[in-house]
């Protein structure tokens, strides 16, 4: 009996890792259901999307509670905001410069796309994305694979696949996922990540032609 008990204790870390991967898969599949199934099948009745959204929010909240994570652990804090901003400053500036250079090379007028009212909700939307991506998925990826390239690649690939079938957004989010994930692993601050995400998204939306981006649409909505 004692040996069996020891074996069970030994398997606890691997069970915990498996559970972390399951949590990532669960959140990922909910996002895919909203993007692809609900929008394809429910048509105008978009309230149905609230069901998987509520389920995923409930899962993340229960998981934080069950694992004993605090708001500070997740990255809802201000003490490391400047430190995180310092880490993000150079790559964000570089990303903006690269987007503007690419637009200039393709002959697009810089910041010439019309301003839309929905851009006002961009900071909130990027915050929600950063919370899900880093505040949850990155943390679970670190539980499963530890800090470093493995967990970062998982975060980036998940983020990129969720932006399919838009080829441009998929590539941008793969790079963005790596960048924001790496910064989060060093300085977990969701406000700084959301700020960087907002700046880059606005630059893309105001510079790239709508035909190239389909108004930043992803999933089934991308097709119209």
């Amino acid at each position: 009996m004692k040996a069996e008990s020891k074996n069970f204790d030994d398997s606890l870390p691997s069970l915990s890792r498996a559970l972390a991967v399951w949590e990532i898969v669960s959140v990922f599949s909910s996002c895919l259901i909203v993007e692809w199934v609900v929008l394809a099948f429910a048509g105008k009745n978009k309230l149905i999307a609230a069901i998987p959204v509520l389920l995923v929010v409930a899962l993340m909240l229960v998981s934080h509670r069950q694992r004993g994570e605090t708001l500070r652990d997740i990255g809802l804090r201000t003490d490391n905001f400047l430190a995180a901003c310092r880490l993000l400053l150079l790559p964000t500036a570089l990303a903006v410069l690269l987007i503007l250079t690419a637009a200039w090379l393709m002959g697009y007028p810089i910041f010439a796309q019309p301003w839309r009212a929905r851009f006002l909700s961009l900071p909130l939307w990027t915050f929600v994305q950063q919370y899900t991506l880093n505040g949850f998925i990155n943390r679970r990826a670190q539980l499963a694979f530890g800090k470093g390239l493995k967990s970062l690649m998982l975060v980036a690939v998940v983020f990129s696949v969720l932006h399919l079938p838009s080829p441009l957004l998929s590539v941008l989010t793969l790079v963005g996922g790596l960048l924001w994930g790496a910064v989060y692993q060093r300085q977990p601050n969701l406000f700084a990540l959301a700020l960087s995400h907002t700046i880059i998204s606005l630059t893309v939306a105001l510079t790239m032609r709508p035909g190239l981006l389909y108004s930043l649409r992803v999933g089934f909505k991308y097709f119209g």
Partner: protein, 154 residues
């Protein structure tokens, strides 16, 4: 960080079941909206063409729009609004005005296939779907222009 208790596993299992049910329900809802199962009808070869009837059981007083395809190609459009008292007496319709007829003229000698479809609007007419009424009708045209049904062995 604490090792999570089994409660988290229960939440994950519950969420998976709820989402599977949601996706399944959406798939059934979408199928029923696009291809509703309440169209009934039949078609047969007559002397001068293809005659039949079409009823929408969800709206029994509606006259069903029908499309006629000959050898896989769209040929004609019509409305099933001709008299068919036999359909009422057989209990398929509530009134007799559900018949259609598509004449067959100047066909090449040889085998042909006719299909009649019920037309259905989806999403306020943004999309239209077709559903086969009855079975496809295979027939032959001889050198004198006479039509003869080809019986298929099942």
């Amino acid at each position: 960080m604490k090792i999570p208790p089994t409660a988290l596993v229960h939440v994950l299992v519950g969420k998976s079941i709820a989402e599977a049910l949601l996706v399944g329900a959406l798939a059934v809802f979408a199928y029923l909206s696009v291809l509703p199962p309440h169209f009934h009808g039949w078609g047969e070869l007559t002397e001068g063409g293809i005659a039949g009837w079409a009823v929408n059981n969800a709206r029994p007083w509606e006259r069903v729009g029908v499309q006629f395809f000959l050898d896989g190609t769209f040929s004609a459009i019509g409305v099933a609004n001709e008299t068919r008292p036999d359909v009422v007496s057989a209990g398929w319709a509530k009134d007799e005005w559900h018949g259609y007829f598509f004449p067959l003229r100047s066909l090449n000698v040889g085998d042909h296939e006719a299909r009649v479809y019920a037309l259905h609007d989806v999403g306020d007419g943004k999309r239209k779907t077709l559903q086969l009424l009855g079975e496809s009708i295979r027939f032959n045209v001889d050198s004198q222009g006479k039509l003869k049904r080809i019986e298929l062995l099942k």
